[in-house]
Symmetry: D2
Subunit: 345 residues, 4 copies
């Protein structure tokens, strides 16, 4: 990178993930926000779409064609769009951070099954590093192309990976995921219409969610996943029901999680006695890059529930992307990610 601040552009800044990347970059000490694209909103100020950006920037949206050379480009486009245009972005910027699913799955079979459309160019696929700092920080140092994990997948992977890596997981894990409405993106439809979506408890996807592919790839254990839309805008919580592969104690489990995450800046192990805060909840994480993780083992020791919560747009997307860029660039890993969250909220 050049001296001075890195110039970063965001492709797809009219959407929710893109808007969140913009928000984080505007507060990032090492980055200067260069350009933000939105075909639909071209020429309008960013604040007209994201009112939280009032007085934060004077930028107006440009089209994708108007993006100029810069130091890093974030791609926040629908699945399938990044793989089509990757040559162009890579030509404009030495570092590309992709927030779509296009370059997440190295395993051809998994990708075919869960994303049956066109496949990415294998050369490009091999260049992308998986954007999960807690699992592959070393691979991210100096990385030029980063594929950030999916929101529910990231939460489930962070909940399960230490156990899976320690060989403590027997048979299929049930990932019960609950998600707010922002995960569905910016485009209104019947399911997102407020009178229908408000107060929902909607298990639209009881089986076979795409994020299974990422979780299995990262953890190496078979996964079943049920996804329920809940009354929230932001937030993902996963309750992972695990059968331990051998008798185990809570103390041992704490040791496993502590060893895995002791030095992680954005993982917090939750261990409260009071029922009010006993296990992680997403609401206090809104706007933060934290993943809170806790667990409960039943008395018989044969049913372990690991619960992880994140803000789906931050640790489940834009924040994780910035954390990856920080590592790739050799900056303070927490740069631009200092917001600690609110209570009450």
């Amino acid at each position: 990178m050049k001296t001075g601040r890195a110039r970063a552009s965001v492709v797809g800044g009219g959407g929710y993930i893109g808007g969140e990347v913009v928000r984080l970059l505007l507060g990032h000490p090492e980055v200067e926000l260069a350009q933000v694209t939105s075909t639909r909103h071209r020429g309008r100020p960013l604040r007209s779409v994201h009112p939280n950006l009032r007085d934060q920037t004077d930028l107006t949206y440009v089209t994708d064609d108007e993006v100029e050379a810069c130091d890093v480009v974030f791609l926040a486009m629908p699945h399938g769009a990044s793989m089509k245009s990757i040559d162009r972005w890579a030509a404009l910027a030495p570092v590309v951070v992709d927030l779509s699913a296009d370059f997440r799955l190295a395993d051809h079979e998994l990708r075919e099954r869960y994303y049956p459309g066109p496949a990415p160019d294998p050369m490009w696929l091999s260049r992308f590093r998986t954007g999960i700092p807690e699992l592959n920080r070393d691979a991210l140092r100096g990385a030029k192309h980063i594929a950030v994990a999916g929101c529910m997948a990231n939460a489930a992977i962070l909940a399960l990976h230490p156990l899976a890596a320690a060989g403590l997981v027997d048979g299929p894990v049930l990932v019960d995921a609950r998600t707010g409405s922002s995960g569905g993106g910016r485009t209104p439809d019947e399911g997102s219409h407020h009178p229908e979506r408000s107060g929902a408890l909607r298990m639209a996807k009881p089986h076979g969610h795409r994020h299974i592919a990422e979780i299995q790839q990262a953890c190496g254990v078979p996964v079943r996943m049920s996804v329920t839309a809940i009354e929230a805008v932001r937030g993902v919580q996963v309750a992972c029901h695990v059968t331990p592969s051998r008798p185990i104690t809570e103390r041992e489990l704490w040791a496993v999680f502590r060893a895995a995450y002791r030095d992680e800046p954005f993982i917090r192990l939750v261990r409260e006695r009071s029922a009010l805060h006993r296990l992680p909840e997403p609401k206090i994480l809104s706007g933060t890059n934290f993943c809170d993780i806790g667990f409960a083992l039943n008395a018989a020791g044969d049913h372990l529930v690991v619960v992880a919560a994140i803000d789906n747009l931050v640790k489940g997307g834009a924040g994780n992307a910035v954390q990856c860029l920080n590592i790739a660039s050799g900056w303070d890993e927490s740069a631009g990610l200092s917001f600690a969250g609110l209570h009450p909220v």
Copy 2:
């Protein structure tokens, strides 16, 4: 009407008001639901759109063209559609209950100002009776064509009419209306998208709302109206800020309201000491045809707040329509409208 149950059809039964008419008619002792139209959902069972109708009816949607002769037809179409097609519906059924704004405004000038589009045929306009039982019950007896009041207008009229009729209102009244999302209808748009609409406190219309016309027509006092979209699906509350035309006491005000509404089956005057239930709130009214009314006079006696709450889809639409039909048909005025509401909720 013929002997036996009256056969009723609902035009526009895919929408929220139309669906509510269907729900009420299915539980009505004097009515048999004949046909329900929805161009978009033609051939599909009603429950596929309104899941509360599971096991309540086997009807499937028909198109408007398929509606047959019956005893009464309810029109739950967008504003402007009823006036275009009224000849046809009137030919099919001796009684037509219209839930749009098309035939509400007798005053030409008010209508021009607030509904600047095409005007209804004056002959038809003169035939329609205003569907507000508390104000013109006698006119509704035997009525053949009924124009049901608008949701916020109805609440404001019921709050203000007794005072206005008694000459107690000085100068313009400020109607501060708060409304849930179902009032915006069934069609998704950016403003109804859950991530945007959730938690809203959105004064989209600080001045000049169309319902002013109805309130002024009914009450004969100048009205200012600010409308705020709030976090709710159902429910309208109006807080009417009134300057009394002369010094007045709470006792006198109670006497005025009691005289006006003593025998009304669906008006409840609210007078609780506890702050928890001191003034009307919409949430306990969901599904009911009640309008709860209460008020508070300041110590100086120069600022009176009258608060009314309704379910916008029931007393603000479908329930009021059924009440009007009950009166017109000489049935028990409360027939089909017995649900009393829930607590807590």
Copy 3:
């Protein structure tokens, strides 16, 4: 019972379940509400606690000591209170319907484990019939003492019983229950404080919930249960994760559920193609006595998710109690339970 309407009294009518019994009895064609008790609110009108009862009754609360002889008494008291006072209520009324857990568990061992406090008198325990019409309607005919099921237990039992009875359930079932705040009752505490409870996704009980005992007793299969408090006032949803005991098809499963529930007035099997209404949700059930049940089998046929939804205060309590009384009394089983629910809501 005497000729004329049965006189019914409600003990504990200041609480949420008791208030709901009151609401239902006030609309019941065979019942006259006699007395309602609340020590705390003695002398106050019922509407001061339950504002939905405005204009529905002129009754004021009496104390438990003031209850007079009547035809049926409903007990809506905290767990442990019914067993202490049962002699007295049984002396006052030939029919006693208890909504607490006191007489639900015939299995001594299960009761000891999940309700370790004082045990009910075995004589009284043996007299009580389990209040689950779908499982033991015959036993309820003419019953004098009825123990109504717990809210989450009832939903889970209705979801699982047909499968368990058909021998289709292998190994422990995971019941993932989600519950609104009204299930916690009327007394404020830190966990029910709005700023803390709002937007919650709180797995306060990941293991060992008391309702396991009832589910196991009714279904005869081992149960694991995780309970999550969600953002809702009313409503319980259970997602029951079942491993089928043998390869099975969706068609066979439908046959099993249809055979079990074909003639049930309050069970609705849900089978929608659209994701919007694919599986049951509680919100459209508020105020109704329905239990909506649906399921999804994965492609491999080894993971079955059965989803049931109810209003925890109605089919999970007061409504089920009234349904049981209707059967016991030989009345129309649906009497007083006709409300069909709202959409949107």
Copy 4:
């Protein structure tokens, strides 16, 4: 102040305002958080009460008696407590920032009327400067004792002061205030119980709210105020209905507001064409120190609605307190207050 970071202690850090002061100070570049008091939670880590503070601090609560000498003390106690103990805090720290109402009202008559309890020592009262940077920044420079404004009062004052100062306000202003549940503080009661408070639209205070005193003192115009509790945890919105004292245009109004707030770091004038963001809403302000202000003038020019929105715990309390301290201490006025808010949320 000494060299190095200023040591700050927070009295009443178990409550919501106190917790918010703690959150802001932990991210403040010029401040070191010294001690936080809570009699009830003594000895427990701060995160056990405020889970957003996980990993942010190792401090545990101390009692008020254990507070040691420091550079600044924030008082976040119930009204009446600060005036009783002010001597002690002033002896411990050269700078005292009080968040209660005790030292807000210089006008004896207003205070007597709205806060009829014991009065503060006149000597102390005269020492306190009003904590509203936009109105009296100069007075705050070097201030030792600061009385931070009330939440709804602050929003209304910021909305009205420019107009009042320009002589543009005729007669009484109606301040229609809407407030989330966190404004009621940490102690559960019947009104804050989730099943009762959820979905509320509760005008518990239609007249005579205490904040009137502050608004009148600051703006010099008579005020009427109606307060409605709405479904939200954080957030205050005021809609101020003003009759202009002379014919005026929107252009002139913009000029007045721009002149008043052009250089203010935390006031944002909102002027969007789209209905979605036309006037300020609190939800995007959660966690921020912004006050968003917008207005709408009716066509006749005789009804002006000025709308202001804030986070009641930040610009309506803790954030405003930190901003005042920044000014008093000669630091960057925005230090510690950089969070810009979220969208969607």
